[in-house]
Symmetry: C2
Amino acid sequence: MTFNKDESAGYLANHLARLFARELQARIKPLGLSTGTFPALLVLWEGDGLTQRELIEHLDIEQPTMANTLTRMERDGLIQRRKDPADGRVQRIWLTDQARALEGPATAAAEAVNADALAGLEYEERVAFQATMRRIIATLQAPVGDRGIPARRRAESA
Amino acid sequence: MTFNKDESAGYLANHLARLFARELQARIKPLGLSTGTFPALLVLWEGDGLTQRELIEHLDIEQPTMANTLTRMERDGLIQRRKDPADGRVQRIWLTDQARALEGPATAAAEAVNADALAGLEYEERVAFQATMRRIIATLQAPVGDRGIPARRRAESA
DNA sequence: TAACATTGCATATCAAGCTATGCAAGTGGT
DNA sequence: ACCACTTGCATAGCTTGATATGCAATGTTA
């Protein structure tokens, strides 16, 4: 049996993510936003003043990737980095007014991408799809030894 | 209602793809392979001598991305580019013996990643998940005006 | 308190994706 | 035969992801 990419979950996930990114990029570029900054903004719109570490824990992104993204966001006038008065190592991230003003149009664009992508799916299929994605994400985030063990049972044996 | 990333199909797809890529990278790095070259190899193992254009049609990758990937693959001894005798514009892509020898271990690694990721899912859930991914991919590949229209009906009205 | 370990972030460097652009080789129409 | 168009690929330059590494600030411990 040869390996068939069109039946490989990993290949399909990669392809799907690229298509979503293309679509989102087309819709938020007019706002002056790009796909990489978007997840950080989603977290910061819920409440800013976070540290870089707090951001990466929310987003499961490596630290240097986030540092890089924040540098671009600062350059583009979306955030400011200000030193934490209590801990000299920490830089807290604050949104600019410009970034705050983009929350409405930007989240509307993202909603539109999702609606577009999922058009043609029944409600039950959408719910099941997202639930499955979350389960696989949880599996891949678990340490290798714990794979395939439901989170409940994992918690019990801790 | 605020936008919630953990209920956004696009965000979940991006996160999922990153986790798959991390996992695959860990497993094929020992073979001297990387995630970007993998899809091209999958196509070429089925039969080489393809043009760059044929490759990008198989993989839905932009042409300069593929040109770049092929340059790295040539550098790493995985492929050779040879001029097509009949058409001076065309470079045909041929696998090296080294690349041919990697088919077994590399596809085994990819199978292992998929098995790992999908462990904990029932058979029906896996099938449904992959079917849904393929449907969303088809939707996002369709021209904007045709979104939400089943492929069957789209074909009829052509 | 001096030495060591940890934490938070930055920098360097690479891969993998994209858009914009250029150019040489082929094709077609007159 | 010539001009215009198309096709195939390369290059430049950017974003978004990763690893490896360094360093300063803070914590911890003998």
